[in-house]
């Protein structure tokens, strides 16, 4: 669910609830209650739960992919049930003869070693290789688009809050609402049908793919330019679709920050408006938005499944779409796990960054002062 409202921006203020004083055991528990420790624990837990649910879906659900694969292999009569079963098991890297608990443990063990099984469709290709070939392109386009929209959106939001109820504020706020109401995949589709097909302003067919065929990878200007040329459309979509969120979020956070006592105190001390805006208001208002970066990245990566299909950009979304149509379950599972891992790591980085930026968070034992 896209967080598009000021109320959502406030939610993040509660991200780190005030921890109660832990009494005598405080300095021992202090490390556990330290937000950084909690963030790391949360990241581990998320990966663990996703892994377990994936295992459950793949292995234990009625009509699960392993049963389907066995059915498929035995249907034409070329293979006995036992043979089919062992082949299906090897495709998923699961030993079906062991008890379920041991299967689960070996599944987790395989994952920990980076073994995500083998593709159904391209026989013998490890899933890890497939995912690692496409994931960087998506992370690059989503990351670039998000960082651009974050920096520009935060600036515009601050600007709108300082010019509250002026024409510019109304245009920015309404524009932000409008653009955040458009689903990101429709921005991509509108670029294709309006700018690409109808007006022919954008050469959409030449921009397909992650790179042009035959170009030599390396840190040459030609290669970097080519990569940017092909990523330009996905980056623009991720930029546009998240821009409104930052404008509205930053505007409401700034308005709240402007009413804080420390801003009045800074004014009373005669600090310049510019200094108050950057060091006092802006800095405090932007903090809660930092933790939203990772969640927004997760939403953007989700949208990339359709966006990359429309632009034929060879990222993780296009690959997942192919895996879904081909019912290539190991690849689907691998993409799900690796994307979750990427988003969890981004979340962790945002949490750590947050605790660096906000000195109130960095202290062990709580006092997070929300």
């Amino acid at each position: 669910m896209a967080a598009t409202t000021p109320a959502d921006a406030k939610m993040v203020a509660q991200q780190f609830p005030t921890t109660p004083r832990a009494g005598r055991a405080r300095h021992i528990l202090g490390y556990w209650r330290h937000p950084v420790a909690q963030a790391i624990f949360k990241a581990f837990l998320t990966v663990f739960v996703t892994t377990s649910i994936t295992f459950f879906l793949i292995r234990l659900m009625p009509g699960n992919p392993i049963d389907i694969k066995i059915d498929e292999l035995t249907k034409d009569g070329l293979m006995t049930y036992a043979e089919a079963r062992s082949q299906a098991a090897s495709l998923f890297s699961i030993d079906l003869d062991k008890p379920v608990l041991e299967q689960y443990l070996s599944f987790v063990g395989n994952l920990a070693h980076g073994n995500l099984g083998y593709s159904f469709v391209s026989q013998g290709t490890p899933v890890m290789g497939i995912v690692l070939a496409v994931l960087p392109w998506t992370l690059f386009s989503v990351g670039t688009g998000l960082l651009l929209s974050f920096s520009i959106g935060v600036f515009l939001g601050l600007f709108a809050a300082y010019n509250r109820n002026t024409k510019i504020d109304h245009i920015l706020s309404l524009g932000g609402s409008i653009i955040s109401a458009v689903p990101n995949y429709f921005i991509a589709l509108l670029i294709v049908i309006v700018l690409g097909v109808e007006l022919r302003w954008v050469p959409i067919t030449q921009m397909r793919g992650a790179t042009s065929p035959g170009i030599q990878p390396g840190f040459t200007p030609a290669f970097v330019g080519d990569v940017l040329f092909h990523a330009a459309l996905p980056i623009s979509v991720f930029f546009l679709s998240t821009l409104g969120h930052w404008i509205l979020g930053m505007k409401s956070a700034t308005i709240n920050a402007l009413e804080e006592d420390y801003v009045n105190a800074a004014r009373a001390r005669g600090l310049s408006d510019g200094r108050i805006m950057t060091a006092y208001v802006g800095r405090n208002a932007v903090l809660p938005l930092v933790t939203q970066l990772a969640i927004t990245a997760g939403l953007a990566i989700g949208g990339s499944i359709i966006i990359e299909q429309y632009f034929v950009y060879q990222g993780v979304g296009l690959r997942l779409q192919a895996a879904v149509t081909q019912r290539d379950y190991p690849v689907m599972q691998g993409i799900l796990l690796m994307v979750t891992l990427a988003v969890v790591l981004a979340n962790l980085a945002a949490d750590l960054l947050y605790s660096r930026l906000d000195p109130r968070i960095g202290r062990a034992g709580g006092a997070t002062g929300t």
């Binding site: 669910m1 896209a2 598009t4 409202t5 000021p6 109320a7 959502d8 406030k10 939610m11 203020a13 509660q14 949360k42 837990l45 998320t46 739960v49 996703t50 879906l57 699960n64 992919p65 509250r164 109820n165 309404l174 609402s177 409008i178 955040s180 109401a181 458009v182 689903p183 995949y185 429709f186 589709l189 294709v192 049908i193 690409g196 097909v197 109808e198 308005i255 990772a294 969640i295 997760g298 939403l299 990566i301 989700g302 499944i305 359709i306 429309y310 997942l320 779409q321 879904v324 149509t325 019912r327 379950y329 689907m332 599972q333 993409i335 799900l336 994307v339 979750t340 988003v343 969890v344």
Partner: protein, 300 residues
Amino acid sequence: MTAAALPRRGDRTLPRPIESAIEFLRLLSKRPSGLIGFIGIVFFLVLAFVAPIFVPNQVNPDVTALYETPSAQHLLGTDNSGRDVLNQIVQGGREIISVALVTAFLTTLIATLLGAVSALVGGKFDAVFVGIADIVLTVPPLIVLIVISALARPTNFFALAMVLSSLGWAGLMRQVRAQVLTLKERDYVEAARSLDLGLTHIVFREILPNMRSYIVIHFVLAMTGAIYAQVALIILGLVPFSGKNWALMLYFANTQGAFYFKDAFWFVFSPILAIVLLQLSLVLFVNALEDIFNPRLRSS
């Protein structure tokens, strides 16, 4: 901090529906964008649920009129098999809006109950559910939905709504919880507690009625999320719907290669416009609601 700050007026302790509806429209009419959003929502509800009664469903393809551009006979042109696009737009809103309504209802119900109970019970129960909500918030929702749909293949629209709401509740649950944590310090909740009125009474009689505005806002927000996710799933062909439906039009347009066919512009653009305008109406309306319920952000 409270989005649920209710308008404090003495005469609203016993709200009469009509009186509060008039008051609401009066407040809304002061906010042009909110009013536009409200009119848009009413328009789409009428278009989706009332208009199909009067407009016959055109099923037969017409091979003499493939991919026609807009004309007096076909205001929005025709599709790949010669069917009128405007007719499909009229027929195609019902499913989308129904799924959005059911999903928003389930999402709000789960989130509000879990959030309120978590905040009131506290302790381990609270910690466990906040943890689950954190995890649900972290995983990329659309990817998980796609994998679940590819495995579970929801075939009817209630199943789709269940799948959608299984991931949509987490953000709202955390906000409701935070909200209830502040509400529960209020005197009337303390009073109910000391009278030992029980958890059900406190949740349904004391807390939730005071969060009405807040719940309404999030119901609308949940609708926008549900529309975003279900349209994505249908566009990807993961929900085997067969009726007429805006998102399904785009799925067929894609499989027919109509995106790259200049004459098919209105066939592709019309459903996009319908969905975007519906989303926009909901967002503008919800912005106005927040404005009305939260005086701190009130701009005039």
